[in-house]
Amino acid sequence: MLNYTIRRLLLAIPTLLFISLIIFLIIALSPGDPTASLPLSVPAEVREQIREALGFNEPIYIRYLLWLKTFVINEPMYYLQDVFGWEYDKSINPRVISWQTRSPVMDTIVQRVPQTLWVVGMSYVVGILIAVPIGIISAYKQYSIFDQIGTFISMVGFSVPTFFTGVLLIVVFSVMIPNDSFFWLPSIYDTTLVVEDWDSFWKQVRQMIMPVFVLSLFNAAQISRYMRASVLDNLRQDYVRTARSKGLSEKIVVLVHVLRNSLIPVITVIALGVPQVFGGAIITEQVFKVNGLGQLLILAIQDGDAPTVQTLTFIFAVLIVLFNLVADVLYGIMDPRIRYD
């Protein structure tokens, strides 16, 4: 297993380089333009000068190599300067600069991570915590009332998009309920809030309730379906009959034997979802004004801010490769029969 992991990690380097190239080509080919959001009264020559100043007019391969060098060499140098005591000079080794904000892309990303993790990450954890038990019970008591209701809610939860559920919640909890009521919830997320005492913690909880609820409903719907299907499959296997006939209690049969064997598809879904957490939830973030990484990405795309899109997407790719590896390793742990070597 260790050998396999090391081999995969080494293999990840060329894979990621290749992925970064493809991402770059797609962004460069797509018809975005860093001056698209300027007012129409800004004349064409000025737009051209702006593109020139941003380096938009350089040939694609130069832009790619430049980005690669700044991201892979300069950024780590900047972050490790304190550790190793290097002299870091930003005029010699510039960092990846956003075209919208003219500031280092990584700084903005770092700024956005906390609110993304609070909201999107939390809703993912909540989603999993709800989905796994629901999936098990639904499968164990297939076609019971619990199962039917669970199926109904999760199907509705998945097919009604978050731009609808989010707005619905806002209308109910922020508009209809008066401002001073205990049940009133803010419709706008305050990203400047610092949690330092009970009062601010309570504020933080209140502003997280709606976005987290909306997102976890969506996440739980998906995961619980896979969980249910997988447990159902396993309950029919011969080993379950064997275990039962051995006189093991139902609790042990289900929670030890069945659960472990039915986690494989669920691990896949969960592992695929973790990078998505980092990618943010564009629509929910917009509805509640959370302004996390999803909003950063969508604004960068709309404004043709290639360095930001490239950097975010590439970090995203790194996480995907990493978590798919984690999933593969977990398969081996869950099911010792799976051998990669």
Binding site: L11, T15, F18, I19, I22, I23, I26, I27, L29, S30, P31, G32, Y143, T151, F152, M155, V156, F158, S159, V160, P161, F163, F164, V167, L168, V171, V175, Q222, R225, Y226, A229, S230, L232, D233, R236, N261, I264, P265, I267, T268, V269, L272, P275, L297, I298, I301, V309, T313, F316, A317, I320, V321, N324, A327, Y331, D335, R337, I338, R339
Partner: protein
């Protein structure tokens, strides 16, 4: 309800002497109550969107500005929108597009996902390359990718298949090729563990060729995650379709689809809630019915269930 009773009354009459495999599957499927109800709903929705326009003569794009924002009435059973277009007619027309796109794109994604998943799970030599390929697709930035697709392919496809056919092909393939990866990863995971089970090893040892192994032994056993992907896939394809039309990739803006009706309705949510309820209900019902049909199919295809 008439559909089911007729089916049930026919079935016992002509019981074939030899039980074919598909006959068994159908018999098993029939006993699944949820699946039957799902089937009825699905057929009803299909009839509504396909045959409805024959009986309901209002043009979904016709604007009757004096009748705008009206509630449900005999003339407009589901009311009208902000321009006075009949919501009932728009639901039918929109359903045709949404169902066609949703189902086709889901099938495409499912086919690609299952193919890649089974291949890489079953053949060790393909596993590495195919999974790295999956990683690549997972990592691609969706919006710029779609914009590139529109730029490169819209005009050639329009010229080849006409505006509507071209857009349909473009949309279905765009959704299909950007949403197969999850299915592939899940199927692969299942195949990996399945491959080590005794019955597969036994079948292998008597020299069963890979093609037969996959179709007879592997595929039926990874059916449940595939069915789940199918139900979830329809829902996300219908919603994705509506977001594609905002990029200019979808059908012309006056062309209704369920996803677009839902999106357009959200802004009026507190004044005219019915505008979001109808399309929301239609999408949810479709997905629910497909889900139950999927449950039934899976149970029916499972030989262990058949003896009960």
């Amino acid at each position: 309800m008439t559909d089911t009773t007729s089916i049930e009354s026919i079935a016992p009459d002509d019981l074939p002497p030899a039980r074919s495999q598909w006959g068994d599957v159908w018999r098993q499927f029939k006993t699944h109550k949820g699946a039957l109800i799902g089937m009825i709903f699905f057929v009803a929705i299909l009839l509504f969107v396909l045959l409805g326009p024959w009986f309901w003569s209002i043009d979904p794009t016709y604007i009757d500005i004096r009748a705008r924002n009206s509630g449900p009435s005999l003339l407009h059973p589901m009311g009208t929108d902000q321009l006075g277009r009949d919501t009932f007619a728009r639901m039918m027309a929109g359903g045709q597009v949404s169902l066609a796109v949703g189902i086709t794109a889901m099938l495409l994604a499912l086919f690609l996902g299952t193919l890649v998943g089974v291949m890489s799970g079953y053949f060790k030599s393909l596993d590495g390359p195919l999974m790295r390929f999956t990683d690549l697709f997972l990592a691609l930035p969706l919006l710029p990718l779609l914009l590139v697709i529109i730029m490169l392919f819209r005009e050639p496809l329009n010229n080849q298949f006409g505006p509507e056919g071209g857009i349909f092909i473009l949309m279905v393939s765009a959704i299909g090729i950007t949403s197969w990866m999850q299915t592939a990863r899940i199927v692969r995971g299942d195949v990996l563990s399945l491959k080590e089970l005794e019955f597969v090893l036994a079948a292998k040892s008597i020299g069963t060729p890979p093609k037969r192994m996959i179709t007879r032994h592997v595929l039926p056993n990874v059916l449940s995650p595939i069915m789940v992907s199918a139900t979830l896939g329809i829902a996300s394809a219908i919603i994705t379709e509506s977001s594609l039309s905002f990029l200019g990739l979808g059908f012309p803006p006056d062309f209704p689809t369920w996803g677009r009706l839902l999106y357009d309705g959200v802004i009026f949510i507190d004044q005219y809630p019915e505008r979001v309820i109808w399309p929301g209900l239609a999408i949810s019902l479709t997905v629910l019915s497909v889900n139950y049909i999927g449950d039934g199919v899976r149970d029916a295809l499972d030989p262990r269930n058949r003896d009960r």
